[in-house]
Amino acid sequence: MKRWVARLNPMRLWARSLPFRVVLTTMSASVIILVATGWFLLDQSSRGIIVGKTQTSVAEASAVVTNMQRDLSTTDLRTTSLGERITRLGRDATNRGQAGNQYFVVIETPISQIGSAGLASASIPESIRASVASGDGLWSTPTLISFTDNRAAEPGLVVAAKLIAPGRATYPIYFLFPTTQERQTLAVVQQATLATGVFLLAGISVVVYLMTIQVLRPVRAARLAAERLAAGHLDDRMAVGGAEDLAGLARSMNHMATELEHKISELEDLSTLQQRFVSDVSHELRTPLTTIRMASEVLYAHRERFDTTSARSAELLSAELDRFESLLGDLLEISRFDAGAAKLSLEVVDLRALIGDEVESLRPLAGRAGSELTLVDDGNCMAEVDRRRIQRIVRNLVTNAIEHGEGKPITVYVRGDVDAVAVAVRDRGVGFSVAEGNQVFNRFWRADPSRGRRIGGTGLGLSISLEDARLHGGWLSAWGQPGGGAQFRLTVPRASGGKFKRSPLPAIPPEMKEPPRATH
């Protein structure tokens, strides 16, 4: 439910749904157009109706006024009084108006109002009274006809004229035409217009939505095909069909997929071939290397019987063979990582003990280099790891520290927290710059090419350590400062496949403030 509510959130729909955007835009545009047309239509029709009504009303009023004026002009003032005459004319007009329920009549004399009963004087606007007073002719204006009795007020039209009596006395006469009929007609027209507008809007929306869906279907198909491609289903293709553009899209997608599949399989083949080659070379080298090694051992064993040159040569041969062999071993190990053939053999290990043993076995080597080797451990350090690989990482890091530590003290820290266990190896030797820090894990990289390898690392140690750490789902980070030494930190999850957000140990030694660093 919540997800549905969230999906119906307009902002999210706007951002996520193209049909929604298209429909909404079209609807907005349609509303503007429809309102404008509707308004124009209503204006025109109401104008036409009102104008027509005004014209007929004025014509009617004009005819009545002309008759009345004629009657009034011919009045013999010796037989009837003017007042009487006016009153009679007014009554006649009222009766005529009432007959067709057409209009109300009001004649204003200085003494009284003559005409239809019950009309409120407010029905006649002051503006038209003024117009009548100012000159001759007919005036008309819309008004609201209200009554003094309890009849409901109704919209209407006032037509005003002036009756001129013999003796130059003038009497304003007003005709009030109710326009209720016309108003009703207008209301019907309005309703019809509004309804048409709403229907049009709904219709347009549906049509636009259907069109968008139709256009989007191949786009969606293309998207799904692209997603499946990305997921590794390289042999998936789109169905080609329909309109030219959309078929073109499908064809292009399919072409791209074919090319991609081709390239990827080419690269895969190449990579497999190369990995196989490295592995085969390493293995092929082993048999002759065995022979050489045995021969060298025979020579080495008899070196006392040789002259100095031959004896020294036998020694060098033997020593270099060791190096050659470890290089071959490392190369094979790397090829195993590259081929994805490296597998963890997991067991729960107390890293404190494991690393303690490893540090103890390296102590003589550190001693020969003049470095004091200290182990600082704290916390529960049980973790599910591959013992051999962790040993190898620690041996690599400590050997590295001894080699570059310039005889200064080396500290190994081990610490565990809830999610992870970390090992950090800190030396205080030559260190390295940030730029170099980015390269320490590169294969066969040397900090200073002019410096020889005294301890005989292969140049692959840190690369292998990094791969070992990754295989555990852990981190291996390097920090260094020229002249300030270096620190390498390994962090592994406590349980295989476990997640951790931070390492129990800092990447940068706490005593070093300004930190250049490189993390892998």
Partner: protein, 238 residues
């Protein structure tokens, strides 16, 4: 089988297609007082085995003609003579295949001479019989006759290779003790700090297939979860 002190030098058959390595092995073995014999192909290996009747076979796993694993199986089918495999691919299934075919041990190339000699000597040396050793030891429903090197279930004698016999005897001598694979590697194979437990696992399986009445539910070599193996309780019946 030859005993600890031998009058004639032990014959070692070297089966390796690499002639240089074979010759080098010959030099080193002769230097150590063994009597080496060479064979360069898989097809001729069994014939060479018959001709020389070696006390131990050094067998390269990758051979032209007939695969080392097959050769191993052929030899094992007719003899319990110790077989040590030489392999360039120690981390692959080849090793397990070889062990399952009956090889006792393996040495990964490139090996050091001393390492190879140590392996050979361990396999040739028969466990000396201690003074206080009992003549017979019971394990499950089996009886091991230590001096005769025989294992019997009732009247039926079970044929074991010397290595399998050593493995069974090692477990039977301390019936209450659970052995880790590392301890067994040291006691039976003579390894010091090795941790290739495949050796132990494969040979325990092979041993079980010979001595257990139901290898699915072992009663002679019992698995101790999280540790390793121990001997089954001796049964004093019949």
């Amino acid at each position: 089988m030859s005993e600890g002190q031998r009058a004639t030098p032990a014959t070692i058959l070297v089966v390796d297609d690499d002639e240089a390595l074979a010759e080098m092995l010959q030099i080193v073995l002769r230097q150590e007082g063994f009597d080496p014999a060479l064979c360069h192909t898989g097809q001729h290996a069994l014939k060479a085995f018959h001709d020389h009747k070696p006390d131990l076979v050094l067998l390269d796993l990758m051979l032209p003609g007939r695969d080392g694993v097959d050769v191993c199986r052929d030899i094992r089918a007719e003899s319990g003579v110790p077989i040590i495999m030489l392999t360039a691919k120690s981390d692959t299934n080849d090793v397990v295949d070889g062990l399952e075919a009956g090889a006792d041990d393996y040495v990964a190339k490139p090996f050091k001479t001393q390492e190879l000699l140590a392996r050979i000597k361990t396999r040739l040396r028969r466990r000396p019989i201690a003074e206080d050793d009992a003549q017979t030891i019971g394990i499950g429903d089996l009886v091991i006759n230590v001096t005769e090197h025989t294992v019997r279930r009732g009247e039926e004698e079970i044929t074991l290779t010397p290595l399998e016999f050593d493995l069974l005897l090692a477990l039977a001598r301390r019936p209450k003790q659970a052995f880790t694979r590392e301890v067994l590697l040291e006691e039976v194979w003579g390894y010091r700090h090795a941790s290739d437990t495949r050796l132990v696992n494969v040979h325990v399986q092979r041993l079980r297939s010979k001595v257990e009445t139901d290898p699915e539910r072992p009663e002679i070599v019992v698995t101790v979860r999280g540790i390793g193996y121990r001997a089954g309780e001796p049964k004093t019946e019949g």
